[in-house]
């Protein structure tokens, strides 16, 4: 559209954009390289990948750089970019047993087939400052890497692992996996009209905002709900993406995505067939986001409980309450919009208040 010259707003916006850019460039620090963000802030980077719901590691780094490190804004960049891309196709369901695992733990069993594998986690680190990190150089990085790789025996662990839950299923303590031919609900092409299928529930939470999911799941954990989860298995790793070949239709590997997956086991329920079984909650998202995957699994279970019982007792069990409020792009945007001018509606508000006050004054003046 041809630009229309107009006073006021446009100039202010341009000035603001330039100032944002200047704030980044001022001072003596060197420009951030995209690799630095991906390598040295992988957990922040993961969060953006997952909430942006577009697996593009390089653009996720650019988004963080451009948004000055705001994770909500950065995820927003990926989402907006997504709107310019058509949907090319649909893949078959992916089995995470094929995951090249970098970390997997189970809280349900002391030992598990294939073994627990702690991997890289801050869980058991003391949150004490390492003041020596305040002054590092490239030589030190080389040394750390050499020390790590230097005494590593090759292929000390298998790349893939069986699922912990298979053990429970084999014993009948968990319901067998239901096979579903239903095509998954695509939340990017259809709005949520309630009631929605579980695939819509899972997809919405998979790109939900970590803090939002955590707050709602925590309310359930604290007592506004009764999921009482046990982490059956939490695994992090790279899942090969199998895409149907455009000509033959046969699945072929197009690359791999970093995924966090959590399966929680919750208290048992009666079944139609009689014998009670444990119930399951499922969480999964792009990147390495363990809190998000666990919170999602708890909420998945909480919503399913309410669906099965036909009764919602707590906010975290209400599919509408959870699914319509966990998206960071939408909630952040709407919260931000209150900063925009609202003087027309405020004028209307004043008109009504003045009218009501006049009526109240007349009533007070009236003889009793």
């Amino acid at each position: 559209m041809a630009y229309v010259a107009i006073r006021g707003g446009a100039d202010a916006i341009e000035g603001s954009a330039r100032l944002m850019d200047a704030l980044r460039a001022m001072g003596a620090s060197a420009p951030l390289e995209l690799d630095q963000i991906e390598r040295q802030m992988p957990l922040l980077h993961s969060r953006v990948l997952s909430e942006g719901s577009l697996y593009h590691p390089r653009l996720a780094s650019l988004a963080l750089k451009q948004s000055l490190g705001d994770s909500l804004e950065a995820a927003f960049f990926l989402r907006a970019y997504r709107s310019t891309k058509p949907r090319l196709g649909e893949t078959a369901p992916h089995d995470t047993r094929t995951m090249r695992v970098v970390r997997r733990v189970s809280a349900a069993f002391k030992d598990i087939p294939g073994g627990q594998m702690l991997g890289a986690t801050p869980d058991y680190l003391h949150r004490l400052f390492r003041f020596d990190l305040m002054d590092e150089d490239a030589g030190r990085f080389d040394q750390i890497a050499r020390d790590w790789f230097g005494n590593r025996p090759k292929a000390e662990a298998p790349l893939t692992f069986p699922k912990v839950l298979d053990t429970l299923r084999a014993e009948g303590l968990l319901a067998p996996l239901a096979q579903s031919d239903e095509s998954p609900f695509d939340i990017t092409r259809e709005p949520l009209i309630f009631p929605v299928p579980r695939s819509a529930q899972l997809a919405t939470m998979a790109r939900g905002e970590t803090g939002g999911l955590l707050a709602l799941a925590y309310s359930n954990m604290r007592g506004y709900g009764d999921v009482h989860p046990t982490v059956g298995e939490l695994r992090v790793g790279y899942v090969p993406v199998m895409v149907p070949h455009p000509v033959t239709g046969k699945p072929m590997e197009a690359g791999e995505v970093l995924v966090t997956e959590c399966e929680i086991v919750a208290m048992f329920e009666k079944t139609d067939s009689g014998a009670p079984v444990f119930t399951l909650g499922y969480g999964a998202c792009f990147g390495h986001n363990e809190v998000k995957a666990i919170a999602m699994a708890v909420l998945d279970r909480a919503i399913s409980v309410a669906r099965e019982k036909g009764r919602v007792a707590n906010p975290s069990e209400d599919p509408e309450f959870v699914l319509l409020h966990v998206d960071g792009i939408e909630s952040m945007g709407f919260c931000t919009h209150y900063k925009m001018p609202h003087y027309v509606t405020f004028q209307s508000d004043m008109d009504r208040l003045r009218a009501a006050r006049t009526k109240a004054g007349e009533a007070a003046d009236a003889p009793r």
Partner: protein, 299 residues
């Protein structure tokens, strides 16, 4: 090319296709628009893509406008009635970047598509013009029922009893209907719509108009319409009349007038000047400018 390079926008507009959205998304939007026009006042769900401006800033209106615009269109964007408001300027800059060929205008009568937030222009719109509203809350029932599934059933049955109860409670408590903007309005005798946060002053303009009114809620993912020559009646009681903003000066009993053009029949913005005195000015900037031009020409 427009020089503004705000966060998130490529300086090279050509890196994105015409009107930003992919063609499938535009087709989906146009289908939803047709359905909305065919069922006046009915909220049609659609997928709603993320836009490069935040939710709440007009992403619903923007998607409608992007689906409507062709290279031979003329487009105007207003916020609070003004073209120079920051949000209007920002959306206009985005259209400038992504819709090559489309002509921008500040003049109401010159535009084929007008995107607006919170106002309907004072100049009556023609049959060849479309007004696109940015909508924060598409459902008027949300004030009485938070659950969306229940609200859908209520709309289907035209069950609006609880809205009238709310109006009645207002009368009991304040002796006035206190709804200031977003006034519930019945379309074609069935669905009640939230006409977006326009003041009550603008609601009568929806009734039996020549132009098409389209409403887009991006975050809530709904599109609805008031087609041309369609009844749009604000809900009220037989013995309580619908009242627009009065702008009456309590001291003199007369209506305030615009300090620029002297209009005594337009919606006015009221604000304190630097000395703290209250001043009044037309909210519709194009209307005010047009009146000033006419006054100058007459002299």
């Amino acid at each position: 090319m427009h020089p503004v390079d705000t966060m998130g926008q490529s300086r090279d507009g050509a890196a994105y296709g015409f009107a930003f959205l992919d063609e499938d998304a535009k087709r989906e939007l146009r289908r939803a628009i047709f359905k909305a026009v065919c069922i006046p006042g009915h909220q049609v769900p659609y997928a709603s893509r993320e836009m490069p401006i935040a939710r709440g800033f007009g992403t619903g209106g923007m998607q409608l406008t992007l689906a409507l615009l062709g290279p031979d269109d003329t487009c105007k964007v207003i916020d609070q009635g003004a073209d120079d408001s920051v949000n209007a300027a920002n959306i206009r800059a985005f259209f400038a970047l992504t819709c090559p060929g489309v002509t921008g205008t500040l003049r109401t009568e010159a535009a084929s598509v007008i995107q607006t937030r919170h106002r309907i222009p004072e100049l009556p719109l023609r049959a060849d013009q479309i007004l696109v509203f940015q909508v924060p809350y598409p459902d008027p029932l949300v004030v009485v029922e938070p659950n969306a599934a229940k609200r859908r059933r209520m709309h289907g049955r035209a069950d609006y009893a609880r809205l009238w109860v709310k109006l009645y409670e207002d009368m009991v408590a304040f002796d006035e209907i206190t709804i200031s903007h977003r006034y519930p309005t019945r379309i074609n005798g069935h669905y009640i719509i939230d006409p977006s946060p326009i003041p009550r002053f603008d609601v009568p303009k929806l009734h039996q108009a020549d132009c098409l009114y389209l409403f887009g809620a991006g975050r809530e993912k709904r599109i609805y319409a008031v087609p041309p020559h369609t009844d749009a009646i604000p809900i009220t009681f037989n013995d309580v009349t619908f009242a627009v903003e009065s702008f009456r000066d309590k001291a003199t009993g007369k209506r305030h007038v615009c300090r620029r053009c002297g209009a005594d029949d337009s919606f006015l913005d009221e604000f304190p000047d630097n000395d703290g005195a209250r001043v009044f000015q037309c909210s519709d900037a194009a209307w005010c400018d047009m009146r000033l031009d006419r006054l100058e020409a007459a002299e």
